[in-house]
Amino acid sequence: MKITGAEALIKALEMESVDVMFGYPGGCILPAYDPLLKSSIRHILVRHEQGAGHMAEGYAHVTGRPGVAMVTSGPAATNLVTPLCDAYMDSIPMVAITGQVSTSAIGTDAFQECDTVGITRSITKHNELVMSAEDLPLAIRQAFHIATTGRPGPVLIDIPKDVLQNSMTWHWPTDEEVQASLPGYHPTTKGHPRMIKEAAKLILAAERPVLYLGGGVLKSRAAEVVREIAELLNIPVVTTLMARGAFPDSHPLCLGMPGMHGTAAAVTAMQKSDLLIALGARFDDRVTGKVSAFAQEAKIIHVDIDPAEQGKVRRPDVPIVGDCKLVSIEILKALRELLDGGEVQADIAPWRSRCSGWQEQFPLSYEPSAPGAALKPQFCLEQIRDHAPEGTILVSGVGQHQMWSSQYWHFDEPYTWVNSGGLGTMGFSVPAAIGAKVGRPDKTVWAIDGDGCFQMTAQELITASISKIPIKVGILNNSYLGMVRQWQEMFYGERYSEVDLGGGVPDFVKWAEAMGCVGIRVDSPEEVAPAIERANSINDRPVVVDFRVEEFEKVFPMVAAGASNDDIILPPSQNDRREYLR
């Protein structure tokens, strides 16, 4: 039986178990929107294509399933560029479908034509222009296979309008056919047995080991087995910005987040370590600081599914290419065998006590606001955290509020933290939170945003209102581009250039109400808890809480860009204790 390319596309998406997609129709993608009417797939109509992309990311973050975005050609495709790049940087599985002008018009500068595959080539794991309706099912199968296997990432399929309109004979490719069509794609998932053995020996011999967990631990769903390794040998753990929740913050072995705004304990433990066990982490510049001064005495075990990450920044002593979960299971097995065979772990008790000393001496801290003075953003976060129902998912934008979110929340479960790490995309929070809520409607989803970020993508709250996606948004509103202001204060002699957002405008409460949300404004500490309780009790529409916070609050600790992690800047209240960092 013949069906159209458009019908084949929707059928292929159904075959891939897509339950929801985020999109926006338009000229070239029009044919695909007709069969959607009788499809089981829920389509969420966004207000800007960038929103569709970030929603797909948020959905993928919390479900582990690929997010799907579908938009038209030209400007719609270019609006998808930011989320594609974001997903690429953070290894988020995502499939993007874009319309394209008809095959006969390609290359003629036709209306709404752009070179979508050319533009997105370096920000997708793979992309493909499909030139015949017959090729559509295979292209879609390949897209989902590539997006979700190996190192996950975004895949874009560009489909000309006539390809959607032409008729074809439906054929759903078998696994073998998919494999045969990708002769160069065979991700290595199993680690090399010799390397695993070597890793186990190094781990037992280390006197100052640190487990350095990256986003790959969450992507491979390895949190449990990694915890077993940590507990078996009492190894301290740090969780990067992309791995928050991969190991419980409440666990005695957890030192928190490393990096530019990490805890002093996490940063220092890595610096002083003699063995970093990097699992699904990529030695990002925000973690290492000045690379030549990073963890100079440490040997490196680097487990990553992407061979290109091995040695990209720091040459590992034991490189293991493979899936974090599979490799961790094998490492755990090898450790147990060695221990059963009479091997003894080096005495790490002195190291443990040094690490706990740093934790005790250098907790995250801020000055509470004086009576009558402005609210502290950290206080707002603590209150949201303390009032949050169990399993609440926290989503953030990019900037100071993101760092405070990561610092002051207690992440005790995987997949409860969604943020834009690698690309640092302002405006990520609101649409990503919508995607997360669609993926996990059973959970409370709080988006923490800055007033700068919020103004980039706030219109997606209209999507949330109309599509009944009741997220909660807490704006830490300091009327400034806070992080940039902080850098200008600290590194540009307090010369504030273009960071004042002009306090008072917009009126976030009225704006929220205009978009069909409940708007609440909070000015003083006593109003915080009641506002949060009210927000938590509303589940039929989105809620926006405008927290008017202290303008000049800074994020600490901090390692200045390009500086060594040894030169971590502590909160002013801890400066007198600096000597304990040895």
Partner: protein
């Protein structure tokens, strides 16, 4: 004038790719995006029409080469990459040049062409077009000698290479693994 990069930094990558639209653009944009330098590049279908072979000469130090190879592997359409050791492979390149001649020195140029086993492709009133196929080093030498006569136009194809047959381990091939 040294035409080619120094031997230590010059590496030949023989990259087997799926013969599909846009693959060359993908390879080229990877080099541009990551800041790697292509010295020369030649591409054509192989004995199997499903695949093309791209021969790339890159001018880099060891660690960067490792990254280039690994990043290339990440391209879905790249099937296999071999680094060919110049000592253990046969390399060929084609060279065409139009050289000015005043009539008097035409004989000298033709004689030079004969010594190098080059061909005279076209003869004009005051110029000759020559072609030479051979190892890149031989082409370098020929170019150097012709330069004195005045090269009007020069075109080289970039090298292609295959492993030598009479040695055991002639190339460092890594199977197409990607993530």
């Amino acid at each position: 004038m040294s035409t080619y990069p120094s031997p230590q930094r010059h590496h030949i990558l023989s990259v087997l790719v799926q013969n599909k639209a846009g693959v060359l653009a993908r390879v080229a944009s990877l080099f541009a995006r990551r800041g790697y330098n292509i010295f020369s590049l030649a591409v054509a279908p192989t004995e199997d029409p499903q695949f093309s072979r791209i021969t790339i000469v890159v001018d880099v130090e060891g660690t960067t080469l490792e990254q280039i190879v690994k990043q290339l592997f990440k391209l879905i359409e790249v099937v296999r990459i071999s680094e060919l050791d110049p000592q253990k492979s046969v390399e060929r390149e084609l060279f065409m040049a139009t050289v000015r001649t005043d009539g008097e020195n035409r004989g000298q140029i033709v004689e030079l062409a004969n010594i190098f086993e080059a061909k005279v492709l076209a003869v004009g009133v005051d110029a000759l077009t020559l072609s030479l196929e051979g190892s890149p080093e031989k082409l370098d030498d020929f170019e150097e000698l012709l330069r004195g006569y005045g090269i009007v136009e020069l075109q080289r194809t970039g090298r292609i290479a295959l492993p030598k047959l009479d040695r055991e381990a002639h190339s460092r091939a890594v199977k197409g693994k990607a993530s």
